[in-house]
Symmetry: C2
Subunit: 180 residues, 2 copies
């Protein structure tokens, strides 16, 4: 994995991939699967919807940090598996044979098997709507990885894999942030 | 277009498609292209990131309603075109030859060419983060449409088209909301 420039990190999230979010509560690591995410700012700032129904939420609220890891299509069964068991009785790193790596800034673990890992600090928790706003403070990407297609949840138990890429950079030039 | 049950509407948004958001300010209709969206609740409730930098924001704030229209890949150049001009000097329905249809509840127009249209009422504007929270109050879908693949923005001027679909309904059964 190599460091990724922060001004490019929003491009990992904008297309709406299913992501894995790791936390560390001071004693244990945990992972949750999240599909309800949004870019809020290019810098980047992200929002995710979560609350007490996710066991990870207590750790997220307490530590005010997490890692957003981007899995790819070859990891789909791991992603679904993580989303259908609970950290309250399962060590998900062990169960799903995932490898921890240490972040540069936050204590939540990176997931080495993922395409990219985004270290985040919580900026605000909008309790009324269960929205957690966080800023990325460091990120890394695995350039050696061959499989780069992410997966998008439909919400009914089906998933859509990235298909064809279409380039509209010229048409969009006036709207793109610098250096992306 | 036929009505779509509200409990299924979140499945139009969860995968993270680029969407068109229409507004009506009392005099004029407008359309903006938005990629920064998130599901917040199955009922459904959505969040979008927008603010004064979008000309449509004033109408959205004033009328407290909008339509989220879901375009497909055949409409990509329209979607990018809408996102790179402003309602302050352009009638986008006319410029992009789009057909208005009347909603059942809100005054913002539906876009007949789109796969689906979701009528929304604003629930809250979280000014601090430029997040607008809205609930869907009605929705319609065009079942006769052959092209159903939506497009996901990467954020760097490239777009990803829906690819292969993978079914994990059985694995996910315990986590799916009823009737979806």
């Amino acid at each position: 994995m190599r460091p990724l420039e922060l001004n490019k990190v929003f491009t990992l999230m904008e297309s709406g991939p299913v992501v894995l979010v790791t936390t560390h509560d001071g004693q244990q690591d945990n992972i949750m699967t999240i599909s309800w995410t949004m870019v809020v700012d290019f810098t980047p700032v992200f929002a995710i919807t979560t609350g007490a129904w996710n066991y990870s939420f207590a750790a997220l609220r307490k530590s005010r940090e997490c890692v957003i890891a981007i899995p790819t299509v070859d990891m789909l069964d791991t992603v679904v598996g993580i989303g259908t068991c609970s950290g309250s009785d399962t060590d998900k790193f062990e169960k799903f044979k995932l490898t921890r790596a240490q972040g540069r800034i936050v204590k939540s673990p990176l997931i080495r098997e993922c395409l990219a890992n985004i270290e985040c600090k919580v900026v605000d928790i909008v309790k009324k709507h269960n929205i957690v706003v966080m800023e990325a403070v460091a990120a890394s990407i695995d350039p050696a990885r061959k499989e780069k297609r992410v997966v998008h949840a439909v919400g009914d138990g089906t998933f859509i894999v990235d298909g064809r890429k279409i380039d509209r950079r010229k048409m969009m030039a006036s709207k793109l942030p610098p250096g992306v």
